[in-house]
Every structure is written in structure tokens, then in C-alpha cells.
């Protein structure tokens, strides 16, 4: 299994509070991704990173920010959580490149915003 951990694994918070989710990898992969999973929608990309300090938006980035100061860590921040951000969040990594784009997923973080 790819060395990917996510913390916390479960979190309950209240509307309007800031929340930070952490993804940590031990594979030294260049690319890291944050997805959210909601019933009927599969996984949707929030943000991704293609290197330290290099990030870009995905299809559902509103209300989220990310940071990557080290290769191994990719942080997802909800500046002011809303109930619509209740979801399961998955981190993924890949080596990147045109022929090696398999993504490996972490175990997920279940976030509930009350």
C-alpha cells in the first residue's frame, strides 16, 4: 500500500469555524490531490499540487484553500466551514508524467459540519 495518511480521520465541527485537513505521504511523489466524495457524485477534485508551493484549482474549489510547503504534506483548509462541506475527503498522490498517472488514495477523512 502507498504510504498515505490523512488526519484527522473523523471530525465534527460547527458552521463558521475553520478546519484544516492534513495529507502526509512517504512516497516522495510529486503530485498530490484533494477530492471530496458525495453520494451520486463520485469523487470531485477540489485542488491539486504539482510540486512544493505549486497548486491549482479543481472543479469544486470554492470555499477551500490548500498549501504545500513540503513534498510530503498537503493541507486542505476550509476557512469558514458550511454544512454543504459535509463530506468525505480523500487525498491522492501520483508520480505524474504522461505514462505514470496512477493515483493512490488515502483512507479518507469524514467531516461533518453542523
Amino acid at each position: 500500500d502507498a504510504g498515505i495518511t490523512q488526519s484527522p480521520r473523523h471530525k465534527v465541527t460547527e458552521t463558521g469555524t475553520p478546519v484544516t485537513l492534513r495529507c502526509h505521504q512517504t512516497e516522495n511523489h510529486r503530485y498530490m490531490y484533494w477530492y471530496r466524495q458525495d453520494p451520486g457524485h463520485g469523487l470531485r477534485l477540489i485542488h491539486y499540487s504539482y510540486g512544493v508551493k505549486d497548486t491549482d484549482k479543481g472543479e469544486v474549489s470554492d470555499g477551500y484553500s490548500v498549501s504545500r510547503s513540503k513534498t510530503e504534506d498537503f493541507l486542505l483548509t476550509l476557512e469558514s466551514a458550511t454544512s454543504s462541506q459535509t463530506s468525505v475527503y480523500f487525498c491522492a498522490i501520483s508520480e505524474g508524467g504522461p505514462a505514470t498517472d496512477t493515483q493512490y488514495f488515502g483512507p479518507g477523512t469524514r467531516l461533518t459540519v453542523l
Partner: protein
């Protein structure tokens, strides 16, 4: 932009029966194609992938998938289903250029009857 359609939200098969899960994609060129499986409460695990070459791809756990360019399809098959195959299955498409992120289908939940 690429997109993926999994027409079947839920499928039930008997143990030992054959299985085919459908996946249709939309993309301007030959994409990267993937099938992932997610067991309840778990992250996603790669079953198989198509990058190029032979259009019939073998994966783990006895699964295979066939890329059919003319039909824009990448259907997943297994000749004999086991009770442990009960899970949710996601088809995904990745672009060969630009952002190396995946677009997922909404998933097919497989139930296996004894």
C-alpha cells in the same frame, strides 16, 4: 473537458455469476482509463488501468476491462463473482496533457447474493 458516465447506479448479481459494469467516457483523444474499487468505509483501490497498447486489460482480483474506442467505453468484467466483490466501483478518465487529475463517474454499487 472529459466526463464519465456509469449508467448503472446499483447492480445485484448472484455469487458465481458473471459481471459487467459499464463505463462510457467523453474525451477528445485517447484518454487514460481506470477502474477503482471502494469497500465500505475504505479508500479507493486501483483495479486496473489502460494507458496504451492492448485494449484488453487485466487487473487484480480476476477483473478485466476492454477499451473500445468506437464506443467510447471501458467496461469492467469478471467471469465469476465472489461475495467479497461487493463494493462500489468507480470508472475514471485522465487527460494525457495538462492537469493530471482524474474525472470520476458517479459509481456503481455491486451487491452479491449468495
Amino acid at each position: 473537458a472529459q466526463s464519465v458516465t456509469q449508467p448503472d447506479i446499483h447492480i445485484t448479481v448472484s455469487e458465481g455469476a458473471s459481471l459487467e459494469l459499464r463505463c462510457n467516457y467523453s474525451y477528445g483523444a485517447t484518454p487514460y482509463l481506470f477502474w477503482y474499487v471502494q469497500s465500505p468505509g475504505q479508500g479507493l483501490q486501483l483495479l486496473l488501468k489502460y494507458f496504451s497498447g492492448d485494449t484488453l486489460v487485466q487487473g487484480i482480483k480476476g477483473f478485466e476491462a476492454e477499451f473500445k474506442r468506437s464506443q467510447s467505453s471501458f467496461n469492467l468484467r469478471k467471469p465469476s463473482v465472489h461475495w467479497s466483490d461487493a463494493a462500489e466501483y468507480f470508472c475514471a478518465v485522465g487527460a494525457r496533457e495538462g492537469r493530471r487529475a482524474l474525472t470520476f463517474g458517479s459509481g456503481t454499487r455491486l451487491q452479491v447474493q449468495p
